[in-house]
């Protein structure tokens, strides 16, 4: 019995230690950001690596989600004779929820794992230690630009996901199914509020950008310097970032959308 309690206690203390370690890493990262901003090209190069190179998957997914949403919602709405509201429903689903969340999950999978692997391998190859010995802070030179790059790229990707999704829904709803184009846009426009829906969606995607990029960088930095270590690190990035995003989504949705 006491062994069980002792083990639980040790587990709890270990959890607190990990939490504290995350917190110190976060603070170090934030403190390294101003130095990174003084070298804008580093940040720009990272936005390219993280954002630009994710465009294909985000746009393709956005289009696909837009198509499917339009199709599914049409079947549901036509029963109530409310198929004119198709545009509105698709827009709200995308800008409020699917845009930020699905983009974040795809981001964690594509950009997150690539960040973790890159940082993990740099650590394994002693590149970060070499920088340290050259009196160059690896956090400012390597980690902070990637952090800023991720936070900047995420909202842009989420916006593009939603925009492309709506256009895809338009193609299916108006061009394929035959919903009236005028109604499609006007009912959508009267029901979607820029500050509330689009704005909150952007705030969500910024928060998700923080979460995904931070988890990816932490897992890469703390990964064991072996191939297995890096592999575990990338898996943990996807799992932890995805769970974090989904839980934060619930919290943010409750905060933002609870009063109609």
């Amino acid at each position: 019995m006491t062994v069980l309690v002792a083990r639980l206690g040790r587990g709890a203390i270990e959890l607190l230690r990990i939490f504290g370690h995350h917190a110190t890493f976060f603070v170090d990262l934030i403190r390294a950001c101003p130095a990174a901003l003084r070298r804008p090209y580093l940040v720009v190069a990272q936005i390219h690596a993280i954002g630009n190179l994710s465009l294909v998957i985000i746009v393709a997914s956005g289009l696909a989600v837009g198509f499917v949403l339009a199709l599914q919602m049409y079947y549901a709405l036509v029963t109530y004779g409310a198929s004119e509201s198709l545009g509105l429903i698709v827009n709200l689903s995308l800008t409020r929820e699917l845009g930020p969340v699905v983009t974040a999950l795809l981001f964690a999978g594509r950009a997150g794992t690539s960040l973790t692997a890159e940082i993990g391998l740099m650590k394994a190859g002693e590149q970060l230690a070499a920088m340290d010995m050259m009196a160059i802070d690896p956090k400012s030179r390597v980690l902070a630009p990637r952090f800023i790059g991720g936070i900047v790229s995420m909202p842009i990707l989420a916006i593009l996901f939603s925009a492309v999704g709506i256009m895809g829904a338009y193609v299916v709803a108006v061009l394929l199914i035959g919903v009236d184009a005028g109604n499609f846009w006007s009912i959508m426009q009267s029901g979607v509020d820029v500050k509330r829906d689009v704005g909150n969606g952007i705030v969500k995607s910024i928060v998700f950008g923080f979460i995904c990029t931070f988890v990816a960088l932490y897992q890469g930095y703390e990964a064991e310097a072996t191939p297995e270590g890096v592999a575990h690190g990338t898996t943990r990035t996807v799992v932890i970032a995805s769970l974090g995003v989904l839980m934060m989504d619930f919290v943010l949705t409750a905060l933002m959308f609870s009063t109609p």
């Binding site: 090209y41 842009i156 939603s162 925009a163 426009q189 509020d193 820029v194």
Partner: protein, 169 residues
């Protein structure tokens, strides 16, 4: 990948993002249809606002000319105080009536404005009590039943008298 090409590509990326945002804001949301800058506020007192919500449209002759800005209860008069933001280029006479109507059969509620005949126009900050409350479904039903009962009562009233006199005999 040269420095210049990377910077150009990132520039394109950010530009795409901004275009997407503009698209979402204008084409897909209500920013383009109604700019909240040029409006003036008018306050209307209602006995019952029904299901009116903030940001519901204010329409005259079916055309949206404004939005509901805020709704609260006046603690002394126990009336709903609705603040309306109306486009500056649309003016209504001071005796215009404000009614809460429903768009369609099951649609959202909005404020309809019937222009009056006065020469003087409502100005910013004016209050009006020329209002008609929302139709509450329960009152409608109870009124209907009451009317029905009244009709039935009128036809049924003469019948018991002859029966009673018949019983007395």
């Amino acid at each position: 990948m040269g420095k210049k090409s990377v910077e150009t590509l990132v520039g394109i990326f950010v530009l795409l993002g901004m275009l997407g945002l503009v698209f979402l804001a204008l084409k897909a949301a209500n920013l383009g249809t109604f700019s909240s800058g040029d409006t003036y506020a008018v306050t209307a007192y209602f006995d019952n606002i029904g299901a009116l919500k903030v940001r519901a449209p204010v329409r005259s002759a079916g055309v949206t000319v404004g939005r509901v800005a805020s709704i609260r209860l006046d603690p002394k008069l126990y009336q709903g105080v609705v603040q309306l933001e109306i486009q500056r280029d649309v003016q209504f006479p001071t005796d215009s009536s404000f009614r809460i109507l429903t768009s369609g059969l099951l649609g959202d509620q909005y404020v309809g404005v019937e222009p009056g005949a006065q020469e003087k126009m409502l100005a910013a900050g004016d209050q009006t009590k020329q209002t008609q409350s929302a139709v509450v479904l329960e009152s409608l039903i109870s009124q209907f039943l009451f009317n029905k009962a009244a009709d039935a009562g009128a036809t049924a009233a003469p019948a018991p008298a002859p029966a009673a006199s018949g019983a007395k005999k």
